[in-house]
């Protein structure tokens, strides 16, 4: 069997890259779940904190103070009602575009 070290792993990993889809192609969440179950991963048991958003969600904000560089206008508070759900947003205008931040969301029941 071919050697299976770290260098070989990085080469094999490149084989998963699909051009033009930012690494996310046609595979579905079901497919991801199937591979997890093959590996015996119990996702329900994992204590997970899930972080989304466009900016400031990742690794860079850990070391620097998060400060939006070009949001200038006062915040506008909007309450959006979905069927059975609520969401509070803060919208702010900037010279280039609008920013929308969801500050809280939840269910009405």
């Amino acid at each position: 069997m071919a050697k299976r070290g770290f260098e070989e792993a990085t080469r094999a990993l490149s084989g998963y890259i699909v051009a033009g889809r930012a690494g996310q192609g046609t595979a579905t969440l079901d497919d991801v779940g199937k591979v997890c179950s093959i590996l015996g991963i119990d996702l329900g048991r994992l204590s997970a904190i899930h972080i989304a958003g466009t900016k400031g969600k990742g690794s860079t904000s850990g070391t620097t103070l998060f400060r939006e560089p070009h949001a200038s206008a006062p915040g506008l508070f909007v309450l959006l009602l979905f069927p059975g759900r609520w969401m509070v947003c803060v919208a702010a205008a900037s010279p280039r575009r609008w920013h929308l931040t969801i500050t809280a969301h939840g269910s009405l029941d």
Partner: protein
């Protein structure tokens, strides 16, 4: 936010797993245990386990994982094997179909600033993007 959360929890005595993207120099940066990357041999061991599982999924169910899907599964696998107390998962592309959404019951969900990104794949309307995140 993910890195900050990780650092707070680690300071509080929890064993943490941190999944972020992209990486800058080395792919191991994406999956950290207690804030540190794994050594190359340990990472390779986990990598080949997951790679073999994916190969058998291809044969059995014709499942084809792509780069980020693969890394997400690898992250989950490493966190389970390393028995972390808490996993901090940063989404990748974002949106409803993001592979980190296989998590059935996250303890906490955080959403930071929403803005236009990956519009070629996710769409161009900020309210639509907000709904995806929601």
């Amino acid at each position: 936010m993910a890195a900050l959360t990780e650092s707070l929890l680690r300071a509080g005595g929890f064993k943490t797993g941190l999944f972020t993207s992209p990486h800058l120099v080395d792919v191991r940066e994406r999956v950290r245990i207690n804030g540190r990357v794994l050594d190359k041999d340990t990472f390779a061991g986990y990598f080949w386990k997951v790679h073999d599982a994916v190969s058998s999924a291809v044969a059995e169910y014709s499942v084809h994982l792509h780069y980020f899907h693969f890394l997400t599964v690898l992250g989950f696998y490493i966190f389970q094997e390393e028995q972390v107390d808490v996993a901090i998962m940063e989404v990748g592309l974002g949106g409803r179909l993001d592979s980190t959404n296989v998590l059935p019951r996250p303890v906490v969900c955080g959403i930071t600033l929403l803005d236009y990104d990956h519009v070629a794949i996710l769409g161009k309307c900020i309210f639509f993007l907000g709904c995806l995140a929601y």
